[in-house]
Symmetry: C2
């Protein structure tokens, strides 16, 4: 259904909105009509904030997280431990880990994971710059925090091999049963791993 | 969860996006990050098209449909029958009826329906301007095309009473079984009405 909406301006807004992920033409039309009814200020400042964001946000030259400056706030903060680097797939994972308030080191955003099926090879990712950071900076530990998928595991292993020659501790996120979940509904693979990698009970008391 | 995203620009974009109907903060963040990864042109022209649309779209002074000019394209088209006016609740309904290609008259957008519970009274709607049009213009038929709800029916009846003194035919959208639906799943009220208001079989052959 490629309706024309009597108005090239509405057409154009709907066309643009419907290019967003998960937004079809019907939803795009609903959003556009909402903006037409909404306060003029509200609609215009939405448009302006998107333009401002796209024009001015850059990527940190060190960790490749989004940033408004050459080096991002996390990388340049004196209060973060610069000797621990957490490797994540994308910018969103940085936000997710930050929201736990359990990590006080720096990040390294790969920009994806190795996936031959999608045509993503190690050279498409920020892996070389990670090796460079380990070589140049005084990094003691690299935490691999990729998604627990085949691609994530492959990428973990690739980085592990690449870093084998350097004097750096390499760890990976603990895998096990989710807090609040019931054993009955935990998949066998995860439950099996959580038995193999069981931890001293006393560790569960320790907090930051 | 009111995360801050390390960047006031991203924060602001997410805040604005999450004010849209049906878009929560998680979706807003996904959309914002998509725009950050997307072509700069694409993201900026989305923002610009929203601003352009909100600044330049007005409402037709005659039918209150969206328009880029004082009187909209439909109202000013010489190819439309100016003596038939279809009354609809909102701008979206104009688009929906236009998409059927079965109506060649003009519209009148009420801007809502009478709903005491939501505090919407007849004076909040474009009912007086409809009466005015019937009085001034040479209108022969008013088609009431509001949603078949209690509020829609109330509004239909209110308009019907208001127009009783004028020499104008007042019709309402046919109600009956949907084409392609099975009788078994049609609600009793609709099925009952479609029996009461049955039409000559020969009418079903007629086409525009």
């Amino acid at each position: 259904m490629n309706l024309s909406y009597n108005s090239s301006l509405l057409d154009s807004a709907v066309d643009h909105l419907s290019k967003l992920p998960g937004i079809g033409r019907k939803t795009a039309l609903r959003l556009a009509l909402h903006l037409l009814r909404a306060d003029e200020d509200e609609a215009i400042s939405l448009g302006e904030s998107l333009i401002e964001m796209r024009r001015n946000i850059r990527y940190c030259s060190k960790c490749h997280n989004i940033s408004e400056t050459e080096v991002c706030d996390i990388c340049s903060s004196p209060r973060r431990s610069a000797e621990v680097v957490c490797v994540v797939e994308n910018v969103k994972d940085v936000l997710t880990i930050e929201s736990t308030h359990e990590f006080n080191g720096l990040y390294h955003v790969l920009g994806g994971v190795i996936s031959p099926l999608d045509g993503i090879s190690p050279s498409d990712l920020e892996i070389d710059s990670l090796i460079e950071r380990v070589k140049e900076d005084n990094i003691e530990e690299v935490i691999l925090a990729l998604n627990p998928t085949i691609e994530g595991d492959t990428t973990n292993f690739y980085i592990f091999r690449k870093l084998a020659d350097y004097n750096v501790k390499i760890s990976v996120l603990a895998r096990g049963i989710s807090i609040g979940n019931e054993l009955e509904y935990t998949d066998e693979l995860t439950l099996g791993r959580s038995i193999l990698n069981r931890i001293p009970f006393s560790n569960t008391f320790s907090s930051k």
